[in-house]
Symmetry: C2
Subunit: 104 residues, 2 copies
DNA sequence: GGAATTGATCTAATAAAGCATATCAACCCG
DNA sequence: CGGGTTGATATGCTTTATTAGATCAATTCC
C-alpha cells in the first residue's frame, strides 16, 4: 500500500481514465493545463493534495466540471452519468469532444 | 470588485447557503469541520484557494459531495438538484438532515 | 542497438495554505 | 448601557503545494 495523502482514489481513476480516453500523455495534459508534468504525476499517484483551483483546471481541460451535489442525490447523479456514457454519444452539445471514447 | 483568488463564486454561494440553511455560524462550521473560523471566513470571501481535501471536509459536514461530471451533463445535473430542492423534502434517505430548509 | 516516449522521481527554491490566537466593528438583545 | 454573537482581519509560524529543471527505468519503434 503506497501512502495516499491526495485525492480520493476513484476521483483520480476518473481523471486518469479521461486522460487516456483522449490519448494524452501526462506531458500533453500538463501543457494544456499549464502545469509541470511532475505535478500531474504527483497528483495521479496520490502524493499531493492539490489545491481546488488546480483540480478545476485539470478537470476543465478534460471536459469535466466539479459539482457540489447533496449527498442524497449522489446515486442519482452517478447513474445519470453512467447512463449517458452508455448510449448518449450523438449529443453535439457543446464544442467538446465526446469523451468516454475507447477507440477512435 | 474585491479580488477573488479562491473558489468559483457560485460554489462559494452554495456553501454559504448550506451553512445558513443549517443555521450555523462560521464558528459552528469551523468546529465541525475541524478548521479555524478565520479560515472559513477566508474561504467564503475568496481570499484563499483551499486544498481539495479541505473543501471535501467542508462539503461533507454540510451534507454534500464533490462530483466530477462531464460538461455536457452539467445542466442536467443542476436541474436535477434544483428539482429535488423544490419537492423532494421527505426523502429520509440517509442519516442526514433534509437541508434546503428555510424555516424550521 | 539506438532513438524516442512515457511516467515516476529528485533537488532546490518560492508561493501559499493552514493553524493558533487575538482583535475589531457591527449587530442584536436584555 | 453592557454583554453576547457574528464575520472579517492581523500576526507569527509551520506545513505543503507548486514550480523549474533534470534524471531515470521501462517501453516502443525503427
Amino acid at each position: 500500500m503506497p501512502k495516499r495523502i491526495g485525492l480520493p482514489a476513484d476521483l483520480v481513476r476518473n481523471l486518469v481514465a479521461a486522460r487516456h480516453a483522449r490519448q494524452w500523455s501526462q506531458r500533453d495534459l500538463a501543457e494544456r493545463a499549464g502545469l509541470p508534468q511532475a505535478h500531474i504525476s504527483a497528483i495521479e499517484t496520490g502524493k499531493v493534495a492539490p489545491r481546488f483551483d488546480t483540480l478545476i483546471d485539470l478537470a476543465r481541460v478534460l471536459g469535466f466540471d466539479l459539482l457540489l451535489v447533496p449527498r442524497a442525490l449522489v446515486p442519482a447523479v452517478q447513474s445519470l452519468i453512467r447512463d449517458s456514457r452508455r448510449s448518449g454519444d450523438g449529443e453535439a452539445d457543446e464544442g467538446e469532444r465526446p469523451l468516454y471514447a475507447d477507440e477512435p
